[in-house]
């Protein structure tokens, strides 16, 4: 058996490139003075280089379909998600730099960890074997645990890191046990081979329990009810720039792998799993939107909204249709842009010790900073799912997939809970535009972060009006 070939190296070039640059970044951090800025620069270059590699691998016929003994999928799906993760990473460090400088916590380690987490995501997005999925999740999560506790002298940050860590490790246990059971019943961990084995083990309860346990692991990572307890506290306690990254990149990576993994059992139209997934989706939508109603802290509100959105996306998996999977992929793009933008704005306005994240502070923002307020309003409308913003198209696809797979009740529940969510998203707008400001101190906006947020805003309008830009890409990969 050949260990590997050159074309395999080329095929995994996005991961390799990013790995290379993360090592350079680490060295730069250790060797250079004024290292944080240098590391930032290296990270940006590395991400862009990796994006170029991903685009190269997207549709390159000379490359193999899989690499490293079927551990990884190449091109198409993997490249699409790679670009998504890398863009999320890029945007999030652009938001993070001014934020960390303001908080006087600007160190090179931050970027190195972000890069390593992104490597984990890239592995997740292309993994075709339960082993690489497991390792991808772990690389990503370990970096997240550390990033959540990045403000090491702050209580809230350490506490959220501990909570995230304990529950995360707990969920890892379930995921692993699920992998073990599936391995035990099918004799392989490779998804491509599990598919062929599936009819033989269809009625084996141990196998089904295995999928159930894996589902618990994923449900935890994507923040679905009832494995959502960590979300509000961790989102609130972690540094805002980390939350921005975690809530978008972490979720996108988990979903990318969730889709691939569960396309195996779902391809058999296993009624039992469909039901479980549908209940998960329903629970997440209800709980997320219900608790979102009573929040007064913007970060916490977005945390509950993130639970709800996980619910919407699980609809796509439950439907088991390519339509639903495309919907999830599109939704992830829209959601990533929206949340990065929203958290970017929160990070710009946040005061010392995590103050100024309550709704009250946003009163009158429409007058104080019209551009910023307009962007935040757009993000809220996109989260609500109102056209012409990208969030609507995503929801349309997901609900369409639910209707097509005869889960109309789920779609109806989805729209009813969206209605709840309308109320709390609108509240932000009510505060920004319809209330008078209480505090009129000048707000200074860091340019880098502001430009990033504007790009997010342009993105959600662009993809909302011309969704085909993404869907045409996806036709070949689902």
């Amino acid at each position: 058996m050949d260990s590997f070939s050159t074309s395999e190296l080329l095929a995994t070039s996005p991961i390799l490139m990013l790995s290379l640059f993360s090592l350079i970044a680490m060295l730069a951090n250790a060797l250079l003075k004024n290292s944080a800025k240098a590391v930032f620069g290296v990270s940006v270059v590395g991400i862009i280089a990796s994006v170029i590699c991903s685009i190269y691998t997207f549709d390159e016929p000379s490359l193999p379909q899989t690499a490293f003994s079927d551990m990884l999928l190449i091109g198409g799906y993997a490249s699409f998600f790679s670009v998504l993760f890398l863009m999320i990473a890029l945007f999030s460090i652009c938001i993070a730099k001014p934020y960390l400088e303001k908080e006087q916590y600007h160190f090179g380690e931050y970027y190195v960890l972000i890069l390593i987490a992104t490597i984990g995501m890239l592995v997740l997005g292309s993994a075709a074997d339960l082993i690489s999925i497991f390792l991808g999740i772990e690389i990503m999560s370990v970096s997240f645990y550390v990033l959540a506790g990045y403000y090491r002298s702050k209580n809230s940050s350490s506490e959220s890191a501990l909570k995230y860590f304990l529950l995360g490790a707990f969920a890892t246990g379930f995921l692993l046990y699920g992998i073990a059971l599936i391995y035990g019943t099918t004799g392989t961990t490779n998804l491509l081979r599990i598919v062929t084995m599936y009819p033989q083990v269809f009625f084996d309860p141990l196998h089904l329990i295995g999928w159930g346990l894996i589902l618990i692991g994923f449900a935890f990572k994507v923040a679905a009810v009832p494995f959502h307890m960590w979300v509000p506290d961790v989102y609130e306690g972690a540094p805002t720039s980390v939350t921005a990254f975690m809530s978008t990149g972490g979720k996108a990576a988990a979903f990318a792998s969730f889709i691939i993994t569960f396309s195996v059992p779902m391809s058999m139209h296993d009624e039992r799993l469909t039901m479980v997934l549908a209940v998960l989706a329903a629970g997440s939508m209800i709980i997320g939107n219900w608790f979102g109603l009573s929040q007064t802290n913007l970060k916490r509100m977005l945390a509950y909204s993130s639970i709800a959105h996980a619910g919407y996306m699980i609809i796509g998996i439950a439907s088991g249709l390519p339509l639903g999977q495309q919907g999830i992929a599109f939704y992830l793009v829209a959601y990533a842009l929206t949340n990065l933008g929203a958290f970017g704005i929160i990070s710009m306005l946040e005061g010392e010790n995590g103050s100024n994240v309550n709704y009250e502070y946003y009163a009158g923002l429409g007058k104080r900073k019209p551009g910023l307020a307009a962007l935040l309003a757009m993000f809220m409308f996109s989260l609500t799912g109102i056209p012409p913003f990208a969030g609507f198209i995503g929801k349309y696809y997901l609900f369409a997939s639910a209707v097509q797979s005869k889960l109309t009740w789920l779609a109806i529940l989805g729209v009813i809970t969206s209605l709840f969510s309308t109320y709390y998203y609108l509240r932000v707008i009510v505060f920004m535009y319809f209330r008078e400001a209480m505090d009129n101190t000048e707000i200074v906006l860091p340019r880098l972060a502001f430009v990033t947020v504007i790009l997010c805003g342009i993105g959600i309008v662009l993809f909302g009006v011309f969704p085909s830009l993404i869907f045409d890409l996806m036709k070949s990969i689902f």
Partner: protein, 171 residues
């Protein structure tokens, strides 16, 4: 009952008992010691399953490294006895016990029906599989990618651990 089976059952019972004892101990140090006992028994079980290399690595990594780290931290933080378990025998705890026992029974029940019951005989290749030679070979061919990528996992862990445990913020 053959000798091997005897060893297996002995180790299995000690493993389970030590796991339960770990839970019941109020002092974290005692808990940790029971966990180490548990790990040694596991190592023995691996040997009975013809996984010699794993058994050695397991003892070295878990008992040698991880548990020492645990004990070190427990000592460092100077933790005393845990509050008695009875003090917080709340509803949540009953629920927790019920959940765990339920899970256990369910697994038992399912094992009764599972295809895994066919696994009464060890595969003939299993003996050869546990050797260092075989594992080394396969680790660097078929499992090359995961092997390499774990280096990043460890890297993240090192950076993170150093960063989090550092005392002062150097500006």
């Amino acid at each position: 009952m053959t000798f091997e089976q005897g060893v297996f059952y002995f180790l299995a019972i000690v493993t389970v008992v030590s796991a339960v004892m770990m839970l019941l101990q109020r002092n974290p140090v005692n808990s940790a010691l029971y966990l180490i006992l548990n790990f040694f028994c596991l190592g023995g079980l691996y040997l009975t399953l013809n996984a010699q290399f794993i058994a050695m690595v397991h003892i070295m990594v878990y008992a040698g490294a991880i548990m020492v780290l645990f004990l070190f931290v427990i000592m460092l933080l100077n933790l005393g006895d845990d509050k008695s378990l009875r003090q917080h025998l709340g509803l949540r705890m009953y629920l927790g016990i019920a959940f765990s026992v339920g899970l256990f029974l369910e697994l038992l029940y399912i094992l009764g029906f599972s295809s895994a019951n066919n696994y009464t005989q060890q595969s003939p290749t299993a003996v050869e599989m546990g050797t260092v030679e075989y594992i080394g070979k396969i680790l660097f061919t078929k499992f090359l990618f995961p092997f390499e990528i774990t280096s990043f996992l460890l890297l993240a862990a090192i950076i993170g651990a150093v960063m989090l445990a550092k005392k002062k913020i150097i500006q």
